[in-house]
């Protein structure tokens, strides 16, 4: 076997995947009105403004080019192959992106690493704004999907589905849900009446989902009679969030919400009473010594807990490119995979999104955290040669955390 670069090796595996799974790669609906884009292995260049009339044409290109990532536009255009200004925007689907990067997670992203491009200092967790040693701001960072991150993303996704279903009245048929192939989920809404919403209207949807600009007074708080747990929309969400916060918050969390120490202890002592009184008489009037200021802080916490942490930029962008389902993610070698909305709860992305299910290979791993894929836990590895199932090896290679061992022969 001739010596080949790691990049060429990955591309060969991707080519095999596309050859074997070609029929599973379905172009999006109304494909002739969409723009397609391909990120190329070579020089990481983006091949944009492509248009296709048939699935065959699209699959031909996919097989010939073998890109590292495949995207299509949420937008519909009269002329998808023209430059942006001349495309003739006709409308766009509504897209939500939930990524662990936007969610504070209990793992604190300790599996991620960064190194300063200037002085080479390295660290764990989310990369800092400034290098602690030299003050540089450019880093090489490697982020890993972990079960905790993905669990948080899933939790947010389920909250989002709930809002879209109950509040926005979108049916399960109008929404498609997918694991992105890396650290999050995409929700794609296709509905005629939504297509022509402009960026400002979509911003209102974002604000709704995140609870931005929400004024509790609108929901009747000023009159002293607040919302009930079973109320719909934000009214009920505020009630449920408040309830949950008051019942579960620790002294520390209450103080972190800027409540006075005394008020915080009072809440902790009165928990049981709050619940009882709530059941009997409804909320708000039941706590002695908790004035409007404290209520305001509690409600802000409730809103924060009920808000869904979506990426605001993706939803407001009416020209967004989105990864196509069943194509591979260039940073992981996992595939973007659709999940039926009612099966999300039991879905395990690190099992179901595995694209390379056969074979094993030997790689030289420079640095990788402990990592779960399928049913196995691997690592942590540091500067060692290991034999791994293809999927795990590809993941390390894609992440730049490993190189193919020179004497490697791929076992298909």
């Amino acid at each position: 076997m001739n010596k080949i670069s790691t990049q060429e090796f990955i591309q060969q595996r991707f080519a095999e995947y596309y050859k074997q799974n070609l029929s599973s790669i379905q172009p999006p609906t109304t494909m002739e009105k969409r723009e397609f884009a391909f990120l190329l292995f070579k020089e990481r260049a983006m091949l944009r403004h492509k248009g296709f009339k048939t699935a065959e044409d699209f699959r031909d290109l996919l097989q010939n080019v073998v890109p590292s990532d495949v995207y299509f536009s949420s937008a519909y255009y009269e002329k998808p192959e023209e430059e942006m200004d001349a495309k003739g925007w006709m409308g766009a689907d509504l897209i939500f992106d939930i990524d662990a990067d936007h969610i504070p997670t209990p793992c604190n992203k300790q599996h991620d690493t960064w190194s300063c491009k200037n002085c080479g200092v390295t660290g764990r967790g989310t990369k800092p704004e400034k290098c602690p040693k030299c003050g540089g701001q450019k880093f090489v960072d490697v982020s890993w999907p972990c079960p905790i991150c993905l669990g948080s993303a899933k939790e947010q996704t389920m909250k989002l589905i709930d809002v879209l279903d109950e509040d926005f009245g979108l049916s399960l048929k109008e929404m498609s849900l997918a694991f992105s192939g890396h650290r999050g989920y995409h929700v794609h809404v296709e509905k005629e009446t939504i297509r022509t919403l402009d960026s400002i209207a979509r911003k209102e949807i974002v604000d709704y989902v995140l609870g931005i600009g929400l004024e509790p007074a609108v929901y009747g708080f000023e009159k002293g009679e607040g919302p009930k747990l079973e109320d719909t929309g934000w009214k009920g969400r505020i009630a449920r969030g408040t309830y949950e916060f008051l019942l579960t918050a620790t002294q520390e969390q209450l103080e972190k919400a800027q409540l006075k120490r005394k008020t915080a202890s009072q809440i902790i002592q009165q928990r049981e009473e709050i619940v009882e009184s709530w059941k009997q008489k409804g909320p708000w009037k039941t706590l002695k010594g908790i004035g409007p200021d404290s209520w305001e802080k509690i409600i802000r916490q409730a809103i924060e807990r009920q808000s869904v942490k979506i990426d605001t930029v993706v939803t407001t962008d009416v020209h967004r490119l989105i990864r196509l389902a069943n194509t591979l993610h260039g940073e992981t070698g996992l595939k973007k995979i659709e999940v039926p909305v009612n099966e999300i709860e039991g879905f395990d992305p690190l099992k179901n999104a595995v694209a390379f299910r056969q074979g094993a290979m030997t790689v030289d791993v420079s640095d990788a955290p402990q990592f779960k894929l399928g049913d196995h836990v691997y690592g942590p590895y540091r500067n060692q040669r290991v034999e791994l199932p293809t999927a795990a090896a590809i993941l390390f290679l894609c992440k730049g955390a490993a190189k193919i061992a020179e004497e490697t022969t791929h076992v298909p």
């Binding site: 704004e129 109950e166 926005f168 400002i200 604000d207 600009g213 719909t232 929309g233």
Partner: protein, 335 residues
């Protein structure tokens, strides 16, 4: 019009003078008072004068006048609509292809106690983009199963927005007809009237130099971040660049602002800045996003007192410049 066999070429016929007079009056009222009075008692004249007013406004060929006229017609529509019956409002909504129905009041949760109608959120969002009061924000509405609840007055207000969009769309069409001279003359007179009125409106030219001290908190923060070479997100970069360009800073000076960044590329920065300044591509000079958009994307660092009075970073800047000017009659600090 067809029924009465009214032809455009006959508009200067004295027979139609009352209609043409009223058409002219409609626009004049819009220019002078930003409204069109309700004279529905002469319903025939009122109806017929509308399309003629639209023609005159189109002929005047001034986008500001046209926008002002559309807004005034929308106000008139609102005043009429809010007095109409629920049945009538539902019918009007149907004309605009709305799904609007009487709100079902849920006794168990008294959800929509104060609401008269429920309409689909897409109809709602398409007509609230220009409404700034916080009560219009979707997050502050009761919404269930895709339906937003509205009082009768609110429904009238949103339908008036449809009227505005409808009139604006009509005015946007290219003129495919020749108006009789008498009518064109009236159009010209209105345009003159508008220009005089506009001259009286406070019109402030942006000063040639940028005054850093007058920046709103968001821009001030971003400007400092750029100066110290910190990483700035895409949308924040756009906000800062478009703000600086609109404050009168030259493309060269804006590019310099970004130079301290460790990954600074003059070629890329120049391309982006020139694009935003309208020197490239679509030739559109971009303006910064409004305050609430900056808030959505986490760019707003929190408001100061003056922020509460404006909705746009440039509006803040203009006001602050005025304040600085009155405080220091000599030259203000400049960057």
């Amino acid at each position: 019009m067809q029924k009465l066999d009214l032809k455009i070429t006959e508009l200067d016929n004295p027979e139609y003078s009352r209609i043409v007079d009223r058409a002219e009056k409609r626009i004049e009222e819009a220019i002078l008072y930003a409204m069109v009075s309700d004279q529905t008692r002469n319903s025939e004249i009122e109806i017929l004068s509308f399309p003629i007013a639209v023609m005159m406004a189109t002929a005047a060929n001034n986008p500001f006048l046209q926008r002002r006229y559309a807004l005034a017609e929308a106000k008139r529509a609102y005043n009429i609509l809010k007095q109409e019956s629920r049945q009538k409002l539902t019918e009007v909504a149907q004309v605009f292809n709305w799904k609007m129905k009487p709100a079902k009041i849920d006794a168990a949760t008294s959800q929509a106690a104060a609401s008269d109608f429920a309409t689909h959120f897409t109809n709602y969002l398409k007509n609230t983009g220009n409404l700034r009061e916080s009560k219009w924000k979707l997050v502050n509405r009761t919404m269930r199963s895709g339906e937003v609840y509205l009082s009768k007055d609110e429904a009238a207000r949103l339908l008036a927005e449809e009227v505005r969009a409808h009139v604006e769309k009509k005015l946007d069409l290219k003129i495919g007809f020749t108006l009789p001279e008498a009518v064109t003359k009236r159009g010209d007179r209105l345009k003159q009237l508008f220009l005089v009125k506009k001259g009286q409106m406070r019109r402030e030219e942006m000063p040639k130099e940028t005054t850093v001290d007058a920046f709103p908190p968001c821009i001030s923060q971003l400007y400092n971040m750029a100066q110290t070479g910190r990483h700035i997100s895409h949308i924040a970069r756009f906000a800062l660049t478009s703000f600086l360009i609109n404050s009168g800073m030259t493309v060269e000076n804006v590019i310099e602002c970004f130079r301290p960044a460790s990954d600074f590329s003059e070629r890329m920065t120049r391309y982006q800045v020139e694009h935003i300044a309208g020197d490239r591509g679509s030739r559109t000079k971009y303006i910064p996003p409004r305050c609430d958009t900056l808030r959505t994307h986490g760019v707003c660092p929190g408001m100061d007192e003056l922020c509460g009075k404006v909705r746009h970073p440039l509006a803040y800047y203009r006001r602050k410049l005025r304040i600085i000017k009155t405080q220091t009659p000599t030259t203000a600090t400049r960057a």
